[in-house]
Amino acid sequence: MTLRSDADVAAARSGDQQAFGRLIEARWPRLVRLARSIAGDADAEDVAQDACVTCWRKLSQLADPARFDNWLMRIVFTRAVRRARWHRLRSLVMWDPQVVGLSSRTESDLFVEQILSRLPPRQRAVLHLTVVEGMTDSEIAATLGIRAGSVRAHRRRARERIEAAISHHTCKADLKAAGLKPRPTSARGTGLQSCATPTSQQPRS
């Protein structure tokens, strides 16, 4: 998905800030979506704006103006990953309802955020570009500056983690409905606890 605005790219490269503003305006929702998926709601717009300023500063380094969109998305990706890593220790705060105004969020939104918070930033980016932006592997590879094989590997690992998280979530909800507690056993590689039904707490019929 490429927005064609070669004239504005050329004008911006020659120093036209208004043309650059038009480029940003056309892409803003897309930039924020990517930043949000990687760095979280609280930082998304900051990240996107910082990326735009960086883009302006380095615009002269853009070799091929036709690749402006991929290039800008990569800057957002890099900055969002950096921000996500920086704030890894406060990952819970990142999804804090008070910070991001989650009062209007549905349970589905919260579940998505909970699962995304369990994925490393690169896996979040690959998943976002696949599921939300509908990009092909080669487009994602070009955007993120990695190989198509790495894109597939990141997506596969993300899917595995999501599968584990969904199983855990479903199982946990079932157990909670039955008034039981999940067995506290670590499920390898998912960052989750196993949700196997504890034998000692099986309901007696």
Binding site: R57, D109, R159, E163
Partner: protein
Amino acid sequence: MSDQNEFDTAFQRWAARPPATSAPDAARAVVERLQAEGGRLEAESRREAVGGRRQARRLSPALATLAAAILLLVAGTASFIHSLPSVSPPPAIGNTGRPTTVPARDADVVLWLDDGTPVYVFLPDGD
């Protein structure tokens, strides 16, 4: 896989929420920020451009380290070789103080001019 599909749908819905700042406002804010930082940014970009050209002529840190390591290795090797005691070549057989050839006749008298130079004197038979 239906769970994954449900997640994808929820993810798309979650991601489709509009940003808090509208696109025109965001673009305006970016442009204002560029204008506010304009002088500084232009100076930086000029400096980056000049620095980039200079950097292109400079050695990269990795190459500089490699060159320094090679220089150190060469200097160390030269110093080590220089510190070894000099070894003379083995003396030639002709300098052992013994003739290299044996006189053909038994009656010869051998005189030595020096350690390696025999002189054979042949005396006539019957004297």
